[in-house]
Assembly symmetry: C2
Homo-oligomer: 350 residues x 2
């Protein structure tokens, strides 16, 4: 624990987690067993989560320190996953920076007045008091001990898409049209979103998360050329704002993008299930660990199918610099919580 002596301000939990399988894997060091956690492990698949959330709006749940801590810890207690992921939402920092948006059940983020002009960029103010976040993380890391907590934020493209479309979109037509037609406004908007996301992440890192993941849920809607020239630079700015911890760069539908997502400013590239993990590793190259990529639908297919698919992914992952087992996207809400626990035990047994 020499770092503690050298840097007395660094919270203990980050140091405690340094030799965990998760941190070893993301750093490309050997592990005793393949570490495993799941995107959306904290959420509707858990009865205890559904009970806790009854009558509580998403934004309220995300900003209440005690509730954030409890929801974040539930899947760790139940499943024995190797890492916790902070319970939050990708649009939360925007809301905390003054943007009039809400998360509607069954719909997703809704922005009352969609962003369309240079003046709209000014609607993103400064982040309000984030003490709820610091408080939640302190309480989570106290309970986790040597198990890592992963911080998170949305990537600028996905977050900006909600601002421009006014809600979830399948085709992102207005977002892309703005990107192509008004490159200066696009850069200003994504830059401002990146500022806020970076600040949100930096707060998490200062409070003691051991790693972070940036989620670009809609990156797969972009061509490689557009992603690389118009989107990735903003994501990189977020990643390079938290050099103290390992960073995971994740998006879905990214088969065409994996090679360019593997920037030096991240240690891990998250892979969705539409690409074979061995192909993904070849595209990402030897300098990054990988995370993924069991199809979330596999948890509906019975034990044998699920185990065969999981075993294949663990075997493919051995070719990577490091491998964290995860789903290719979030846990589906209808997933049986016991099946999730079984999967963790099975991956650990391999």
């Amino acid at each position: 624990m020499s770092d503690t002596v050298l840097n007395p301000d660094v919270r203990l939990p980050r140091d405690l987690t340094r030799d965990s399988d998760f941190i070893r894997a993301v750093r490309g060091r050997a592990t005793d067993r393949t570490p495993v956690w799941f995107m959306r492990q904290a959420g509707r698949s858990l009865p205890e989560y559904r009970r806790l959330r009854e009558g509580v709006a998403m934004m309220e749940a995300c900003t209440d320190a005690a509730m954030v801590a409890e929801i974040t810890l539930q899947p760790v207690r139940r499943h024995g996953v190797d890492a916790a992921i902070l319970f939050s939402d990708i649009v939360l920092p925007l809301r905390l920076a003054g943007v009039d948006l809400d998360i509607r059940p069954g719909v997703g983020p809704v922005v009352e007045e969609p962003f369309r002009s240079a003046a709209d960029v000014g609607r993103i103010g400064e982040l309000e008091d984030l003490s709820f976040l610091t408080e939640a993380i302190a309480s989570i890391t106290d309970e986790l001990g040597d198990r890592p907590l992963i911080g998170f934020c949305g990537a600028p493209f996905t977050v900006a898409s909600y601002l421009i479309e006014g809600g979830p979109s399948r085709d992102h037509a207005l977002t892309k049209a703005l990107m192509w037609e008004r490159p200066q406004l696009w850069d200003d908007l994504l830059g401002r979103v990146a500022d806020v996301c970076a600040q949100f992440l930096q707060t998490q890192v200062s409070a003691g998360v051991s790693a972070i993941q940036v989620f670009d849920s809609w990156a797969g809607a972009l061509s490689r050329e557009d992603y690389e020239s118009r989107v990735l630079p903003h994501t990189v700015r977020i990643l390079e704002s938290v050099p103290e911890v390992p960073r995971i760069n994740f998006g879905t539908g990214t088969g065409e993008l994996l090679a360019v997502m593997a920037v030096p400013q991240c240690e891990v590239v998250g892979v969705d299930h539409r690409v074979a993990l061995e192909d993904a590793i070849a595209r990402i190259g030897p300098d990054h660990a990988v995370q993924g990529n069991l199809d979330p639908a596999a948890l509906f297919a019975g034990e044998q199918v699920m185990q065969d698919m999981a075993a294949s992914i663990v075997a493919q992952g051995r070719a990577a610099k490091g491998h964290v087992f995860n789903l290719g996207h979030g846990v589906l809400p209808g997933t049986d919580a016991e099946v999730i626990s079984d999967l963790v035990a099975y991956v650990h047994s391999l």
Copy 2:
């Protein structure tokens, strides 16, 4: 016209279209200009379509010969596209074969009692009288003259997904679980769907369509291995049931699948906009023509952006055996009809 003498039963329209730019391109012959048509060119982007559909349910519109003909011809008259595409829906053959389903506005196909068991396969009966289809095609081809009409049907995976999920699904979890866990039931179901789709297509070919396209909207949700072993054989059965005409095999999100989609039983592979066309051509190889792949969002980005993107696609397409210009997916409902016409004229000018 020697074929007409040799095969007196073959309807004239198919022969008339043989030297059209569209048929030349799909056959890999030189063209005067790049032929262009658009998926969903017949539909909500056209004011004349919206007027005609007022108060008329989708299923009603799809089975009324006069309405099918009028809607199919509207975009040809307005935009001057190089081919018409039969106005229909991918679930229509199932409905005509007795499955209790409907197409709900703003939702999509809904199946009251989702398919879950071997007994459910028996709910797909025989196709009812398709004279409305024969009648519509006769009337369309009469007006089109030497301009081709493209017939169409859904691919078994996408159609089966609606039957199993009971409606549109983002994750296709039940569909994939059934595919992995109950391979015999899966094969029986897709086989039965393929039978009905093939019969629907054969009727179109007999009635005089000049080419056909099979739509696998959700193929991109599958891994290459699953697509190739569990889905493609059923699609191939449909394709090989209509050897008389050129066949287009299309799906979205198919970057990982293009190489295996290029089966000998089709002449053209449709490419969506998430893959650069030059990369797609490399994956598809020299034996197939390609179709695609402008991002539908480009039609919202102003003339200059749209033209630059279209010109790039036409230039990339020259490396293929043949190239039909199209969008990477269907025309978005909010697209300005005049912009569509402008795009046709621009592609023709290149």
